[in-house]
């Protein structure tokens, strides 16, 4: 799979900050307006960063629609939108959250996905849960059908949940679904890179992985040295995320660490237009892109 070296991430647009509540609040407020996301997309494209990793969030999708040069972008959707399901789960339970989402399908989508039975809740419950989840992946991907997709990323919570079952079936099904139904490359996000990768090797699943990799060792499990060893020796396609350690590293501090690592791409969450120009410029200079 050929990926761009630099990828724009959507964490800031979704209000995610690892630094402070104040920054998270600023992101939530500022990027709630899609008009404030569009200039960041423009800055990214102007810097020749044309791959965008995103979740199916209202404001992000609205910005994408408004962005005049959206046809130039290659999207990497992260599915499912785990945050949305988690928020629903406290009221409705895990299964209830999935069913609620399924009930929101339009009649066209139900027919398209063969889900006529969704109007009858009992029929839905009797469906195999994995089948239902796969249909939800179809459903979430339907939001991106007007755009060019470069691959589909399984959300880290799902990847790591599948990993913990110690059974390759879920990941194999995801891989086959994305390849066979969409002719796209599947990717896995994880927060447990050093455990996932050896397991994938044992299962003989060769698939690109997106994982935290940074000078501070932030979120590098089980340890920074073990993750670094696997990056260098595994031969897997690696997309580094959290490279700025959630904002604790400046681009000047962060990118030299990545310079000699065997990584294919770097995902960067960006919180403003000046930050976009600065971060991409330093990344290109240090990583010789």
């Amino acid at each position: 799979m050929k990926l761009d070296r630099l990828i724009l991430g959507s964490n800031a647009f979704e209000g995610v900050s690892y630094i402070s509540r104040m920054q998270s609040l600023h992101y939530l407020e500022f990027f709630a307006k899609e008009d404030n996301i569009v200039p960041v997309l423009e800055a990214a494209v102007a810097a020749d960063v044309k791959t965008f990793m995103l979740s199916n969030c209202r404001n992000v999708m609205a910005a994408l629609k408004k962005f005049a040069r959206n046809k130039e972008l290659t999207l990497l959707p992260v599915i499912p939108n785990a945050y949305e399901y988690a928020m629903e789960a406290s009221e409705k339970g895990v299964l209830g959250a999935v069913l609620t989402k399924a009930k929101g399908f339009s009649m066209y989508q139900k027919v398209k996905l063969g889900l006529r039975a969704l109007t009858k809740i009992k029929s839905v419950i009797s469906k195999d849960i994995l089948d239902l989840l796969l249909e939800l992946i179809h459903f979430e991907l339907a939001s991106f059908e007007k755009y060019r997709l470069g691959g589909v990323i399984l959300h880290g919570q799902l990847t790591d949940l599948a990993l913990s079952s110690r059974n390759p079936d879920i990941l194999t099904i995801f891989q086959d679904l994305v390849r066979d139904s969409y002719d796209l490359e599947p990717l896995l996000a994880t927060h447990n890179f050093g455990i996932l990768l050896p397991q994938l090797m044992e299962w003989k699943i060769k698939i690109p992985i997106m994982a935290p990799l940074n000078k501070k060792g932030f979120m590098m499990r089980p340890s920074q040295p073990e993750c670094e060893r696997l990056v260098q020796d595994s031969g897997y396609q690696i997309i580094a995320k959290k490279v700025l350690a959630g904002g604790r590293l400046t681009p000047e501090e962060a990118f030299p660490y990545l310079k000699d690592k065997k990584i294919d791409s770097v995902v960067l969450g960006i919180g403003s237009v000046p930050e976009a120009y600065h971060t991409f410029s330093v990344a290109k200079s240090v990583l010789k892109i």
């Binding site: 979704e14 209000g15 995610v16 690892y18 630094i19 402070s20 509540r21 998270s24 609040l25 939530l28 407020e29 945050y83 988690a86 928020m87 789960a89 406290s90 009221e91 409705k92 339970g93 895990v94 299964l95 209830g96 419950i125 009797s126 195999d128 849960i129 994995l130 919570q157 790591d160 949940l161 599948a162 913990s164 079952s165 110690r166 059974n167 390759p168 079936d169 879920i170 927060h191 447990n192 455990i195 501070k216 060792g217 932030f218 979120m219 590098m220 499990r221 089980p222 340890s223 920074q224 350690a245 959630g246 904002g247 604790r248």
Partner: protein
């Protein structure tokens, strides 16, 4: 139990927390996931399809009779906990119960009584005890970096309820209450862990969107050593995508502020290894201590702590006695809000 033996674990209740504990137990080398149980028979298909190699039972008694277990994670709705615990104790299991211990103080007291003086290991799911930043703050307070403590103020907010919601979680008879028992219980554990049991509580609670459970509450607390503190909780504040805690402590030597993201110290003069004035310790800078993470930081450590203590037969980080103390404070808050008067904790028994 010998060190080399694995703890045979059952998970009871396969909602969000049950699924997470199932996954985490499956990743702990010293544990063996031996059985799963939920009253919803449909979840048998989930268990089968997710590849978990453990039998599923919709009947708890049947599971306990057919599968030899050492321990169980109880992740059922709070109102069901006492009955499940009673059933599990017929097999003398060690038990982890997700927070809160029960939906009422009475049930929590019965549960604590059932294990009092017995060798069963019993743990409660107050996650903050296993999070690196909160452990660091505990260490700083215990080593008197900010000196003798005068007072604290604390809050916990999340954006969750902006209209009437359905389900047991929002039904007082089943959950025991609203924002206090479901959200602030984590913060109240921290208050109890850091400052001990309050002597008195004066509280107010309000329902804005919910019917019968409080959406926000404020409490004033006093402690025997002269410390006083306040707590403010709401699950109906916009702009909090996840529950967020803020605890500010004032002492003779300065102040300590603890949030989900950092500890900020302000010292009037250098203390221990900390300089005069500001020091910030970011969570990001704390070393990775957990080999695996799923759901939230600390969950793996929480389960590992319980499993480790099942092997050692020693008390885990958060016992049911600790859980009962948190429940006592919660009960005092509810009584105070209900009766509109100060409640002394020694009267809550």
């Amino acid at each position: 139990m010998e060190k080399e033996k694995k703890v045979r674990v059952g998970v009871i209740g396969l909602g969000k927390m049950g699924i997470l504990h199932t996954a985490l137990v499956n990743m702990i080398p010293q544990a063996e996931l031996a059985a799963l149980s939920d009253v919803n028979k449909q979840l048998a298909r989930y268990v089968e399809q997710s590849g978990l190699r453990a039998p599923f039972f919709s009947d708890l008694s049947q599971m306990l009779n057919e599968i030899a277990l050492d321990a169980a994670f109880i992740c059922t709705p709070a109102f069901a906990n006492l009955a499940v615990v009673e059933t599990c104790l017929t097999k003398n299991l060690s038990l982890f119960v997700e927070k809160p211990l029960a939906h009422t103080f009475e049930d929590a007291k019965k549960m604590a009584g059932l294990v009092a003086g017995k060798k069963n290991v019993h743990a409660t799911g107050y996650l903050f005890a296993h999070m690196s930043l909160f452990k660091k703050a505990k260490g700083l307070l215990d080593t008197n970096v900010i000196g003798r403590i005068h007072r604290f103020k604390s809050s916990m907010y999340t954006s969750e309820v902006f209209g009437r919601k359905k389900g047991w979680y929002y039904d007082k008879a089943k959950s025991g209450g609203g924002a206090v028992i479901n959200i602030a219980s984590h913060l109240l554990y921290l208050v109890y862990w850091y400052f001990g049991r309050p002597t008195s509580v004066f509280a107010r609670g309000r329902s804005i969107y919910s019917d019968g459970v409080e959406d926000d509450a404020t409490a004033l607390m006093e402690f025997s050593d002269g410390v006083s503190g306040s707590l403010d909780v709401s699950w109906s504040v916009p702009g909090y995508r996840l529950p967020y805690l803020d605890l500010s402590v004032e002492g003779d030597n300065g102040t300590l502020e603890l949030t989900n993201d950092y500890i900020k110290l302000y010292l009037y003069k250098a203390q221990k290894s900390f300089p005069k004035e500001w020091t910030t310790i970011h969570k990001i800078d704390m070393p990775v201590t957990s080999p695996f993470e799923l759901g939230a930081e600390g969950l793996y450590e929480e389960d590992l702590d319980f499993i480790g203590h099942c092997l050692d037969r020693t008390p885990p980080a958060v016992t049911w006695q600790d859980g009962l103390e948190v429940q006592r404070i919660i009960e005092a808050i509810y009584r105070s809000a209900d009766r509109q008067k100060v409640i002394f904790l020694n009267e809550v028994d």
